[in-house]
Symmetry: C2
Subunit: 69 residues, 2 copies
DNA sequence: ACTTTTTTACTGTTATAGCGGTAAAATGAA
DNA sequence: TTCATTTTACCGCTATAACAGTAAAAAAGT
């Protein structure tokens, strides 16, 4: 388990939003390469760029830990 | 709302784990500057480095959207 | 009080993410 | 099939994140 992959999720959401990689990139204010990399699960992307893309797609990020719960 | 800040959460978890920034950095395999930046909410850090730090602290990341739920 | 530890905040250097451009491969539509 | 669109995968260039030092400021102990 826990082989969750963010890339495919981003791709799926983008598709359902009817956006191309380039359109998403422009909306998020990042380069097309960054969107491509994110969908390819390249984790060396910058956190702020990833956040920008997720924001456009209405994907929220939550952090959880035993202490938080 | 939604002014959630990851930095303080990381710092809190690190403290409760009894780690210094340097120790956490070494455990996560990143430089001390990166840990410092994360705790300062600097979002230009790389996603993989952030993940490494969160992994050490047992902080899980979840992505949610109306489509996912 | 003093001392030690940790954090903050700089540095200069190096590695690489990000960028737009390009072009080939893949996908999809007519 | 053909044609248009999109995605993938390169390229070279530039900007900057990451790094190890260093040192001063802050915090924690004694």
């Amino acid at each position: 388990m826990d082989d969750f992959e963010l890339g495919p999720m981003v791709k799926d959401h983008r598709k359902k939003a009817g956006l191309t990689q380039l359109e998403l990139a422009n909306l998020a204010g990042v380069g097309k390469t960054t969107v491509f990399d994110i969908e390819k699960n390249k984790e060396t992307v910058r956190w702020n760029n990833l956040l920008s893309v997720l924001r456009v797609l209405n994907i929220k990020v939550e952090f959880k830990s035993p202490l938080t719960k």
